[in-house]
C-alpha cells in the first residue's frame, strides 16, 4: 500500500469516527458541499473562524461567571452565540452542551453554568484537536499528490 493510499485510509477512518462518535453532524457535510476548486479552503476557513470565535466566547463566559453578581442574560447571550456557531459548522457535541448550558442560565443556576462551561470547553478542545488532525491528513494527502476522499 503506497503512502497516499495509507493516508487516505487514515483520513476516512478519522472522519467517519468523528461522525460516529457524534463530534460532527450533518452540517459539517453541508460545509463540504460548499468547497470546490474556486474555494478550496472554504471549510478550513470557516472552521478557523469558529475556533477564533469560540475562544473569545469561552473567555468571555469565564469572566462573566466570575462576576460578583452574575449577569445571566449576558451569559445566555454568549452561550446562544456559541450554540449558533457550533451548530453552523456541525460541532454537535459542543452544541449539545450549549443547550444544557442555556437551561442552567434560565434557572440562574451558577453551579450548573460553571460545570457546563467546563464541559463546553472540553468538547471544544476535543473537536478542535480532531478537526486539526483531519485537516492535517488532508494536507498530507494533497501534498503527496493524492485526492481527498469524500465523506458523505
Amino acid at each position: 500500500m503506497d503512502g497516499v493510499t495509507q493516508l487516505q485510509r487514515q483520513f476516512v477512518e478519522h472522519a467517519t469516527s468523528l461522525y460516529r462518535e457524534g463530534y460532527l453532524d450533518d452540517q459539517f457535510t453541508q460545509l463540504q458541499k460548499l468547497q470546490d476548486e474556486t474555494n478550496p479552503d472554504f471549510v478550513v476557513e470557516v472552521v478557523t473562524l469558529f475556533f477564533e470565535d469560540s475562544e473569545k466566547l469561552l473567555n468571555n463566559l469565564a469572566t462573566a461567571l466570575q462576576q460578583e453578581s452574575v449577569d445571566y442574560k449576558q451569559v445566555d447571550a454568549y452561550v446562544h452565540q456559541f450554540k449558533g456557531s457550533s451548530s453552523s459548522i456541525g460541532a454537535q457535541r459542543v452544541k449539545n452542551v450549549c443547550v444544557v448550558f442555556r437551561n442552567y442560565c434560565d434557572e440562574k443556576n451558577l453551579d450548573g453554568c460553571v460545570v457546563c462551561l467546563q464541559q463546553a470547553k472540553n468538547e471544544y478542545l476535543l473537536v478542535r484537536n480532531k478537526l486539526e488532525a483531519l485537516f492535517n491528513l488532508e494536507q498530507q494527502i494533497l501534498q503527496a499528490g493524492g485526492s481527498v476522499p469524500m465523506i458523505v
Binding site: 458541499k33 460548499l34 470546490d36 472554504f42 470565535d53 449558533g84 456557531s85 453552523s88 459548522i89
Partner: protein, 278 residues
C-alpha cells in the same frame, strides 16, 4: 464584511432567456454564519452583500436617512438572522416593509430557534419565509428556486431547467408569488394532494435534517405555462424541513384576496411543530 456601492436600479426582470443575477442582502451578526450564508448564496449564483447588523443593513439600503437617497440599491432578496444584538431581524423586517423603496423586496428570516409564535409573528409582518438554522444548501436552492426560478448552481449542469424556462419566467414568477399570497389555503390540518404537481406529495413527517435528501425540482410553478388559474401547487412557505409538501391547491382563482400571511398554511404548521430543534 462586504460592502457595495449603491447602484442604479435595473428593471427587476429583463424578460430575456438569460436570468438576471439575483442580488441578496444577507444580515447576520455571526461572522461564521455570514461566511456560510454568503457561500451558500454565491454557489446558487446570487450576488451577495453581507452585513453584520440591522442598522448596517438599513444604512446600506439608504433607509437610515431622513430623506430617501436618489439612487437606491438594487436588492432582490433580504435574508436576515432573527436574534441579533441591537436591532432584531424582526425589527429590521418591519422597517423594510414600512419603507417605500423596499417593501416589495422579499425578506426571509433565519433563526436557530424553531418557535411557532416567532415564525407567525414574522410571517404576519410580511416575511416571505422562515428558515431554521443551520442553513443548508437545499434551503437556499429551494428558496431561490421558488422565488426566482430554478436555482442553477455553479456545479450543476441544469440544462433541463434552462430548457423548460424559455418563457419570461421572471414576471411569471412575480405574478405567481403574488398569486400564492392571495390563495386562501384550506383550514383543514391535513394537506390535500395536489392535482397537477409533478412533485410527489409528502405527508408532514417529522424530519430531522438529513443531507441525503436532495432539493427536489420545484418546477411546479414554472412548468405549466398556463395562467395562474391552473391548480399548480405552491411550494411550502417554511423550509425548516427539506422534504417539500405542497400547500392545498384547492382554492379557485375567484377566492377573495387573502392576507399575504401564510399563517394558515396547514402544511407549514405541521412542519413547524414536528420539527425538532435543540
Amino acid at each position: 464584511m462586504a460592502t457595495k456601492n449603491p447602484t442604479f436600479s435595473r428593471p427587476w426582470r429583463s424578460g430575456t432567456d438569460h436570468f438576471p443575477d439575483v442580488h441578496v442582502l444577507a444580515v447576520d451578526d455571526s461572522i461564521i454564519d455570514r461566511k456560510v450564508i454568503e457561500r451558500l448564496l454565491k454557489i446558487t449564483s446570487c450576488k451577495v452583500t453581507a452585513v453584520e447588523s440591522g442598522s448596517r443593513a438599513l444604512q446600506y439600503l439608504g433607509l437610515d436617512q431622513e430623506k430617501s437617497s436618489p439612487d437606491f440599491v438594487d436588492v432582490d432578496l433580504i435574508i436576515t438572522d432573527y436574534c441579533m444584538p441591537g436591532m432584531t431581524g424582526y425589527e429590521l423586517l418591519k422597517k423594510i416593509k414600512g419603507s417605500a423603496n423596499f417593501r416589495e423586496v422579499p425578506v426571509v428570516i433565519m433563526s436557530s430557534e424553531n418557535v411557532v409564535a416567532r415564525i407567525d409573528r414574522c410571517l404576519e409582518e410580511g416575511a416571505e419565509d422562515f428558515i431554521v438554522k443551520p442553513v443548508k444548501l437545499s434551503d437556499v436552492k429551494r428558496l431561490k428556486d421558488y422565488m426566482f426560478g430554478p436555482a442553477t448552481t455553479i456545479h450543476e449542469d441544469n440544462n433541463k431547467f434552462n430548457n423548460i424556462n424559455k418563457q419570461d419566467k421572471g414576471s411569471f414568477n412575480k405574478r405567481k408569488l403574488q398569486q400564492m399570497s392571495e390563495i386562501s389555503p384550506s383550514n383543514s390540518p391535513s394537506p390535500s394532494p395536489p392535482t397537477t404537481s409533478p412533485s410527489p406529495p409528502t405527508s408532514a413527517s417529522p424530519s430531522p435534517p438529513t443531507s441525503a435528501s436532495p432539493s427536489p425540482p420545484r418546477v411546479s410553478c414554472l412548468s405549466s405555462p398556463s395562467p395562474p388559474t391552473s391548480a399548480s401547487t405552491s411550494p411550502p412557505r417554511v423550509s425548516c424541513l427539506s422534504s417539500p409538501s405542497p400547500l392545498s391547491p384547492s382554492a379557485s382563482p375567484s377566492t377573495p384576496p387573502f392576507s399575504p400571511s401564510q399563517l394558515d398554511s396547514p402544511t407549514m404548521r405541521l412542519k413547524v411543530t414536528n420539527s425538532d430543534e435543540a
